[in-house]
Symmetry: C2
Subunit: 283 residues, 2 copies
């Protein structure tokens, strides 16, 4: 199955294009113990709460930085989290933003697609096509290239103008040239106009590029704005994933409850309500 | 001790500005066993060969991609390699090219500077200042920002012209603005003219930026060219590190010997001969 097929069938089955970022911060998780135990239990509980509510996100996206910060215990937790969520049969996107020269990128691609064995990964474009090519060799996987990121400092480099055109737009142009089946783009939710412009460009190209859209919630983007941008761009929604991390993971803090797993499902459903694709088929 | 001090005292003690990349590729290492055992033994043997010849590189640079590709065994090997080489009291540069939004970059910085506890790290600039800032909070560590990389596809993005000025030059400009004590740049050896121009700009700025220069040997750059560029730029050589990986690691293949550790030291000395700073003080 290609990555595009996985996105489409998952959207059909779950009715969701919301991706849940699984980004552990020990200080925010109300469980005591070592990092491996705490993180594993937290995301097992979330998984079970989603299952028991008969609801699933359209993808999950662990950002490996949050696991690496806890050393081997964090990485063992990541392995556990991937194993547990694998049973949901939804895309697992490893947010790793790797990028290096050719043979070194090949080692990163092997780490992501063989060792972690995830369905898709994020990569950084600064080092050019030969740094991205090794990821594209894995024909059944997804590769999201950073294009327009959602952070406040994104513009420092990405807004630099090349003959009147911002760099992120040039990266989008390059991306269309590099793109193979499964190649996609990261477009930050905090810049909905730019998202719309690039999505429109991609639509017109006739290529089907998966979009990963982070930045809603704490960072300031809203699902409504993104949905509007995507609809204006006539973008195939099943290929899109709008990511929410903190807003789901730590929803219990806002809901003032101890039931962190239940709170996460409630928060997910609220977000999901603004991104309805169709009723799920309950297959 | 600041990272600049560590670079200077190491240069004085070892007489070397050559950095040895420790990039394991199992197929090239003539030892049998699991990845952890093979990699650990290989770099222990190299360390002991250097010690017994009373010679040391000016730094070592493990590229984490080569360890990550072997999963937990590879990462345990990295831990062993760092522990063994720590005894040499030379800079350990973790080539990780990390870069993400602020709080995620903070997690990466923690992974690099607390868990791996290395002296310096490489980071990617595409996501802007707030993605680099968390690394700069570790005031006694070094942070090399990718500026001009050494790979063939480097130009795809880095050569894009902003008002007639290539992107890598703009990144260098930004870097000078962001730079704090210990902030440096990665400048590929395969582009000696560009290296000279940027090094000249840094010299003129009056800021002391460590330079990490990969790309000699297999990639096509030569030590002589780099040394010439640095001298033309009047760059303080003790702040520079010219990296050689394959040419040292797998020198035994060219020297047609089984003594891979001895061959590595011979290859290092040959490279070192073209980058003489001063006689080492044997302190």
């Amino acid at each position: 199955m290609t990555y595009l097929d996985l996105l489409r069938t998952t959207t059909e089955r779950t009715g969701s294009i919301i991706c849940v970022g699984l980004d552990p911060v020990l200080e925010k998780i109300p469980i005591k113990g070592n990092p491996e135990k705490v993180i594993t239990k937290f995301y097992t509980d979330l998984f079970e709460a989603f299952q028991s509510e008969n609801v699933l996100p359209g993808a999950i996206k662990p950002n490996i930085a949050f696991y690496e910060q806890y050393g081997f215990e964090g990485l063992r937790a990541l392995q556990n989290v991937i194993t547990i969520w694998r049973a949901a049969n939804i895309p697992i996107i490893l947010d790793a933003k790797r990028g290096d020269i050719g043979k070194t990128s090949a080692a990163y691609a092997k780490a992501c697609f063989v060792f972690w064995n995830v369905d898709a990964v994020t990569v950084a474009p600064y080092m050019g096509s030969d740094s991205i090519a090794p990821f594209l060799h894995y024909a059944d996987r997804g590769v999201y290239v950073l294009c327009r990121t959602s952070n406040p400092g994104a513009g420092d480099i990405q807004d630099l103008l090349i003959e009147g055109v911002p760099l992120y737009q040039k990266v989008a142009d390059q991306l269309l040239q590099w793109a193979q089946l499964g190649t996609g783009a990261v477009l930050g939710a905090t810049y909905p106009e730019e998202l719309e412009n690039i999505a429109t460009q991609f639509t017109k190209s006739g290529k089907e590029l998966p979009l990963l859209i982070p930045g809603i919630g704490g960072q300031g983007g809203t699902v409504e704005e993104i949905m509007r941008s995507l609809k204006h761009a006539a973008y195939p929604l099943p290929l899109c994933r709008i990511n929410a991390s903190s807003a789901v993971n730590y929803a219990y803090q806002k809901q003032d409850t101890d039931d962190y797993a239940g709170a996460a499902v409630i928060a997910f459903k609220q977000i999901q309500r603004n991104a309805v694709i169709r009723q799920k088929t309950n297959k």
